[in-house]
Every structure is written in structure tokens, then in C-alpha cells.
Symmetry: C2
Subunit: 235 residues, 2 copies
């Protein structure tokens, strides 16, 4: 299995997909690949425009993408994909369309057969057992919260520590604490912006300039840094 | 119909339920009432503790509450309720338990028969057609996103204008813009902290120190202040 699960496409003040570009290139390798792109999380952007945006970036690193919305049979497109790229946006919309097109099992099978999977933000969230640790607004209702289940733990992308000053809503940490209260056997990783997980076979590593924050019921949250051992989360 | 739909229980730096206390007293009136309290949104707090917390506040304004979790038959408890109070917490958990206990129709019927309804945060969200404009994490999966549908528009509680500095995730406004893109016939109100809607019969008014921000597909967002006419949203 080969996964690159990225917290966010874009750091504040940087160009689109700039921060993970080098890691995407390392992950896909030197031989040019035309990957299948899943744009379903896009809501305020058309699938054509979303494809173009991502394509430009991938071309800069000698790879290419084609969006799944051009195929009359999305399942067949998955079956012949050389790599699967799932972009960010609204996680509920993304999962709903993946379910509507019956792509959960086909994509899961491909990835377990070794097809590389790259996802950022919502695209990293759907690699988890469920989308229950998304930050997104539930603007549409998927059939179920169950997602690709490529890893046995939950990611909270765009993890951040504080609320804007003077705001009384729950912090992200409080939200995740509520999740583990009701889902006691599952690890949740707060994946801060600019960071990502790389999974190759059964080896997982954190990449980027920030720590990850690990939550599990009954344990105090734990800060782990790049280079630390994350194997306990997938074994 | 009598509704008091409050953005948030507590303003930053203030005591629990302090900001809406006076309005709750005005809304329930001078004659002491023992209201039915729905604590289901509570996750990190026990239902007993949640009840106590709210009870203390209501006692200060000469009213009382009893929590629905003490009744072996929650539907019967609803049928004899003098007022219904729905507290904040996690909206998904709240709606799931309301649905599990089959309370959607019983509460809806009571409220349409004139029983006063007070909800804050998640409790204001479930008064809407759906919970699709909540800010909460989907930590459990309700059967459906459909809620009490007491008003024909959506509330986004704890509405705030900005992200923490340096954070690249979607702003609240972007999230609501995505909602109206996919739900074009529905008004969404960004209800800022410290503010609330009071609905009596078919008259609706905004109360509090801040404007509300109104979103509708195809229209620029609109700022309305207390005293402005909100009737277009319910007629």
C-alpha cells in the first residue's frame, strides 16, 4: 500500500499545492504517470476548473492527471488508474458522490493492490474508516459516514490549537475529545497544516514542519514529531 | 408558535447562560414554569450534571427544569411538557438521540400547538429544517439530517467572520456559500454570538448586540440589525 495523506492543499500566503509538491514528486517517482483525479469535493469550483488547477501543478513535477468526471464509467476509470488523487473541498459532498458512483470498493481494492493514493484535506479524510473527524459543514447527506478505510485511524486535517480570540465555540481539541468519548477504540490524529503522512507498505511516517497530536480515549493527548514512531497506530 | 433560538449559551469571559438569561425570563413570563430539558447534545458532561447546570440558571429567574432522561417514556414526557428547552453540545449526537427516541414528531406537534421552545447552539440548529448548517463534528451518524423543521430557514450558530491568523481552512462564510450552492432555495442566517431570534406566532425579531448575516443563493450576503424586518424569511 502506498498513501500520501496531506492535511491541506495550501498554506496561508502560499500558492496552491505548493507545500506538498516536492513530496508528491518523491512519492510518485521519476517515471511520468497520468493519475486519475477525483474532484467531487469541489463545490464552488467546477470539476473542469478544479482539474485544470491540479493538472498545472502536477505538470510542473512531470506528472499528469485526468479527472474522473470525463469518464462515462467511473468504476472502469478506477480499475485502470495508475494512481488515484483525491482533492479537498467539502468532505460530505465528496463522500456522497463517491457513494453515489459506487466507488468505495473499487478504489479500496486498487489501493490495497498497490495503486498509489494521494489525498489532501477532504481527500485525506476519506482515506479513514469514516468522515467523522472532518471539520466540514454537512451541506449534503451521504448514505453513510463510512469511507475508504485504508488506514485504521482517523485524521483531523487542518488541525489547529486555538479559536479566534473572543470566540466561545468549541475548540478543535474539544471536538476531538467528544469524538473519542463516543468512539473509544479509535486513534485520532490532529494533522496540522503543512504536514502529511506517508504510508509505504506497513511503514508510516510524518513529514513536515510541525508535530502531530494524537488522541485516544482514556489517554492524555500526545505530541509526536517527524521521525517519531507512528507504527502503533496502524499495527 | 413561540420560539427563542439562541446562537450560544455563553459569551467568552461570561458565566454559563448569562447573556440570554433576561430574554429567557421575558420569553417564559412571570408565572413559574417547570420546563422539560433535553440534554442529549451533551457528550463530555453527564446528563445529570448538564441538568444541574441549566437548572441553577433557570432557578435564578424563578423557573425550573427537569431533564427528559429521568422519564422512562420520553414521548409521554414531551406530551405533557409546559415548555421544551434544548441545550447545546454536539448537534449530531443531539439529533441522533432525538431520532432514536422518536421525538421529532411529538416535539414538533407540541411546538405547533403553542408550547414554548428554547434552544441554544445545537438546540437552535435542530429547530431548522436540517442540521446541515451546524459547525459541529459528525462524531456519530444520525439516521437523517432532518430535524424539527419549526422554521423554514437554516441557522448557523456561533457565526464568526474570520479564521485564526495564518490558518488556511475555509472561513465560515465560505462554508455557508457552499451550502447555498447545493441548497438554492433556503435562507441561511449567520447568527453571531450573543444574539438570538424570538418568534411569537408569525412575528420574528433579532435580539442582541450584533447584526445577523443572511445568505441566499444568487444574492450577495446581507447584514440585518435588531429592529430590521426578518419576516421575508418565514413567510
Amino acid at each position: 500500500m502506498r498513501l500520501l495523506l496531506i492535511s491541506n492543499s495550501t498554506n496561508a500566503g502560499e500558492a496552491y499545492l505548493d507545500h506538498p509538491k516536492k513530496q508528491i514528486k518523491n512519492f510518485l517517482g521519476e517515471i511520468p504517470i497520468s493519475a486519475l483525479f477525483v474532484p467531487y469535493a469541489g463545490v464552488s469550483i467546477s470539476f473542469d476548473d478544479y482539474e485544470l488547477r491540479v493538472k498545472e501543478r502536477f505538470n510542473e513535477i512531470s506528472h499528469d492527471i485526468i479527472s474522473i468526471h470525463h469518464f462515462s464509467d467511473p468504476v472502469k476509470a478506477v480499475e485502470s488508474a495508475k494512481a488515484i488523487i483525491v482533492g479537498g473541498g467539502n468532505t460530505f459532498r465528496l463522500l456522497k458522490l463517491i457513494q453515489d458512483y459506487k466507488l468505495i470498493e473499487p478504489i479500496r481494492e486498487r489501493v490495497f493492490s498497490g495503486t498509489p493514493y494521494i489525498g489532501w484535506s477532504a481527500g485525506a479524510n476519506v482515506a479513514c474508516p469514516t468522515i467523522s473527524t472532518t471539520n466540514d459543514m454537512p451541506i449534503v447527506q451521504p448514505e453513510s459516514f463510512e469511507a475508504f478505510n485504508l488506514i485504521p485511524f482517523q485524521i483531523n486535517p487542518h488541525f489547529l490549537d486555538a479559536n479566534p480570540e473572543g470566540h466561545a465555540g468549541e475548540t478543535r481539541e474539544m471536538r476531538i475529545e467528544e469524538y473519542i468519548e463516543l468512539n473509544r477504540n479509535t486513534f485520532v490524529v490532529g494533522l496540522r497544516e503543512g504536514t502529511m503522512f506517508r504510508v509505504v507498505k506497513s511503514k508510516i511516517e510524518l513529514i513536515g514542519p510541525r508535530n502531530a497530536r494524537i488522541f485516544k480515549y482514556g489517554q492524555p493527548p500526545k505530541e509526536l514529531k517527524p521521525g517519531d514512531n507512528f507504527q502503533f497506530m496502524i499495527n
